[in-house]
Structure formats: structure tokens, C-alpha cells
Amino acid sequence: MHSVMKESEQAPPPASAAEPLVAVEGLSVDYAIGHSGFWGRAQRTLRAVDDVSFAIRGGETLGLVGESGSGKTTTGRAVLRKVPLAAGRITFGGEDITHLRGEQLRRFRRRMQLVFQDPYASLNPRMRVFDIIAEPLLVHGLVPRLRSAEDRVAELLELVGLPPDAMLRYPHAFSGGQRQRIGIARALSLHPEFIVADEPVSALDVSIRAQVVNLLQDLQERLGLTYLFIAHDLSIVRHISHRIAVMYAGKLVEVGTPDHIHEDPKHPYTQALLSAVPVPDPRIEATRQRIVLSGSVPNLADPPSGCRFHTRCPLVVDRCREEEPPLTERSPGHRAACWVT
């Protein structure tokens, strides 16, 4: 009874260094807000992601960092074509996938998958682990019957560090970290090239986070995966990313290597973000000078004029209120959008 699938663990041919695997240009996403009338028509729209562009090379990890309202989660969903685009273009492996729909889109899903934030809600509580992991195979016709997928499921469980008999049980029998591994196994079942990891460790205990992040790193090496790693924790992102992009209120404000971002942040928001992270050292905490931002993220239904950060920025000048700064190159590979720095 041999498996219908090709042998596992064979990394797909790496994309050439010149051409990125995933490229996003001018991405914008709108949300409808407010309803009225007997037929409930949407009243206004809110631009959650505004003109975002980036590219990820094969085998690389782009860390996308931001707080709530930054648009990072929406960006991740948009790249996967899970939410409709208001503007922009998405290219995957050289192909323009912006307007794919229906069956074509469904088949394209095999090449890109998602790892969710909440390990407790991302697995159907009424399905066994086997069913959860084997479903993608069944749905894409990769196995003739569900039962033939047992070998593949056992393989995947082993890949993520779980015993094969885990497939017999239900999600509630597992801890948060283990459930997250199951979610990763599910994402890997179709041999995707690209995985969007949406805050994969935020809901896990601190001592477990390292396990899952290290697993993701190992899998990247073994299988040649490309990641878009979305997070709000800068320290974790630093470890796993080859490059980091910082978002604020729907816009990209800074892009660079982890060293650029952490050692020499150019955008005042990045600086504030780094400064806000508490350090487990009471002496440092007692004496450090923090940049504590006042106020909160602006309402995107009515965004501030000019630079979106100007309402909270400690370095604000008049120009910031009038004109929106573009992303300019500060050093090779390091770009930031600020008039002042």
C-alpha cells in the first residue's frame, strides 16, 4: 500500500537569489464599517493596510512587527488571498495571483499555508488530530481514501516532534505547545513553499515559545520554507528573521535587517517600541530612560494628516503634520519613513 505522494523531506528547488518567492506591491485592504438601512448597506470604509510593499526571497523569513491596529495580521491574510484587496499586486513564484479566484485559487493554496495564533481555537475540537492533519490531503485529492493518509500523517507528526499515536486523540488532550505543533503539521501536509505564521507563539507560555520557534527554524532549514513571521514581540522576531518590517497604523514605517532595527532604529516608533519592552532586570528597569508614548493608535476611519505617527511622536515638526514621509534608504537594505531622523 504505497503512498500516492512523492517522498517527503525533499526541499523544493530554491528560488534564485534574484527573484523573490513572494512579492507584494502597493497592497491596500479596506474594511467596511457601519451599516444602515433596511437592507444593511455598508456606510464607510476603513483602510487597514495602506500601500504596503515588500518582497521575500525563497528560504528567507520576513518578520512583520506591529501592535494592534498596525495592519500586520490583515497583511498576512491579504498575501494569502484570504481577504479582498482594495489595491495592489501580489506575485508568487513569478506569477501574479492578485486576481485568482475559485478553483484556481483553491489549488494555489497548496503552495502557501497559515499557522494560527490561537492553539486552542485553530483546531476543530470535534475532529481527531488525524482528521485535522489529513483533511488537506483529502480535499486536494492527494489520497484516494482517508485511511491511506495514515503514513503521511505519522510522518508529519514525527516532523513536528509528536508521537504517531497522537493522531488518535482529540485536541483537548494536548497542551498549548503541542496543539501548535499539530497546527504546524497541518500547515505542512501539502508541502507548501510559503508559510504565514501569524503570531504563532504569542498565546504560549514563555518557556514553551522557544520550543516552537526553534522547531520553525529547523523546519525552514530542512524543508527550504519561506516565512512571513507576524509578531508583536520584537525579541522573538529578531531570532528568526532575516529581515524585519515594522508597521504602524496600516503603513510600513521601517524595514531592515535585525541588526539595523535593533541596533540602529531610524523611525521614532521603532525606537519607542524597542524602548517599551520590559527587561527582566530590576536594576536596569529602575534606572532606564524609557520613551513612553502618550495616547494610542489613531482611528483609521479618520487617519491623521501627513505622517500617521505624528500625533504621538516625540520628534514631531510641522512638516510631519502636512506631508506623509516616504520610505527612504538610510543604508543598504535599511529604509525608514521619517522627515526628522
Binding site: V206, S207, D233, L234, V277, P282, A286, R290, S296
Partner: protein, 341 residues
Amino acid sequence: MDAGSADAPLLEVSDLQVQFFTRGGVVQAVRGVSFAVHRGETLGLVGESGSGKSVTSLAILGLLHQPGRITSGDIRWKGRSLVGRRGAKEAKRIRGRELAVVFQDPMTSLNPLFTVRAQIAEVLRHHLGMSRHDADERVVELLDLVGIPAPRQRAGAYPHELSGGQRQRVLIAMALACEPELLIADEPTTALDVTIQAQILELIAEIQQRLGLAVLLITHDLAVVAGVCRRVAVMYGGKFMEVGAAEDVFEHPGHPYTAGLLRSTPRPDVVLRRLVGIDGMPPSLIDPPRGCPFGPRCQLASATCEEMPPLERHGERREVACWHAFGHERVGAGAPAGLGR
């Protein structure tokens, strides 16, 4: 110990045991925990999920409901018991008045149907019998205390008009309304963005100093404790593993779990090639093993660990429950733990 502690403690917990009677078995959530909080003292209770820290705070507040129950031990407020039927009456009297609490999720802790003013005033009128006019004035004072700009106008706002950070400030204002002596903050910043977390923690520290408030801060994030608390207690598997002055514990952790937790907490100023965590998972609390709960995950574990180590004094301000206390420092296991200055 810090200021004003020569007198009797405000809160005294003695050998508290809490159990949950579920169909799946009896969950021993808290297994014999004892500590005291004195006037003006700041104690951080640190633990991951399943450690029992939140259950402890619910038990103290008398908010523990079926299927959970305090099965043994005592909780005393200024010498009077809060346990049992008579205790429940006492708990009701002091709750919100002498003993206040701020919970984790500001999104759901405020009633969406009432204004901020109405909700804070309710506390004042219920506990202190204030007139409507006096209560409204005090509300403005409180909102100013917690740093809400234009407090008189904002008092008339509804919760949905406020951001997460602002809502948490309102909750803190509500907690401080009757000038309590102890504030229990149960994961007050976990649901907030990093930059907002910095604001709120700074606020709590400032208020604590200004009002001489005692604070019991419950969190899973060691770094959060570092900025606010003078003393820290580390909880695991329903028991205390270590208690001591925060500075000392962070610099020279005595318990291997504390050391592991410190190592797992990523810091923006430290770059590691690979993230370090703690292998394994927290123990099941249904029929927990007899010995040290951390044994199965501990690198220093030996045969003696089958017997639960008691909390023992190590020096003047430290208690550690471990047969191999400070052993990791001698052995030098793995990456440096603590700050080891």
C-alpha cells in the same frame, strides 16, 4: 522587607489549597501556598499557565465558583478570615473597598451600557455612600490620577469610545476609588500592546509610590515584575518554588525553574543564536505526582526529587523549594541564567 512592615500583614495566606471537581477528575490547582503582603509592599506572583496563580487571586477575592473550591487553608485580611460562610461576608465587605482588583481583559471588564462616570460612581456610592454630586467630583479626580486627559469630558464617555489602554486606566481608577490598601493586578497588561503596557506599568508603579499602596501583581512575564515589584514569588504546579527580593532572585535565581524562566525570557539587548526554553510540559494537576512538580523537566533532578522539597530559607531574604537550590550555578548548566554579576 520594605517600608512599614513591622506591623501585622494586611493579607495573610496560610497553606491554601484549591481544588476543582470536574468530571475528568479532581484538579489540584493550588497545593499549599503561604505568603503575606504587608502595607506598602509590592509582591509579584509569577507563573505560567497551570501554575495556580490566577486561581490564588480568585480565592483571595472570594470569586472562586463551582467547580472550584477552597478545600483547606486560610486567607486572612487584617486578621479576619475570608474563608467559609462568615468569611464570605467579610470578603464581600472589603472587596472593592479595602482590597481592590484589576483584571486582565479591559475589553470585557467594563459594562458597555454605562458611562465611565456611572461605573466608577457606583463603587463610590455603594461602599462610601457618597452623594451623586460628590461621587461625580471624585470620579474626575480619579480619572486625572490615572492620567486620562480632559477627565471631566471623558467621564461621560462609554467604554467603546475608549482604547484598550484607556479602559485599563479606567479600571485602575475604579479600583482606587475607595482608597484601598491592597491592589491585586491579575495580568493587567497581558492583553495590551507593548507600548501601552509600558504606560500602564509606569502608572501602577507611580500610583503605588504616591499612595503607599500595597500591590500584588500576578503575571507570567518576569520582565513585568522587574519594573514594579520589590519581592517576587515564583509558582509552578500549584506550589511556590521560590520567594525572595526581586533584585536577588533575578541576579541569582535559586530554583532551576526560575533560572529556566529567566533564560527563556527573551531580551532585546541579548542576542542568542538559538532561543532557549525549558523542554517538556507543565504537569497535569489531576492526580499530580508526589515529588517536586518541576522534576520531570529539571536538568538537576535526582532520586531525592521524588520527595517534595519544602520551602527553605537560604540567607536572609530568600526561600527556595529545591533539594538542589543554586545547583545550576555550580554546575553551570547551559546558557548563563540570571545576570550573574
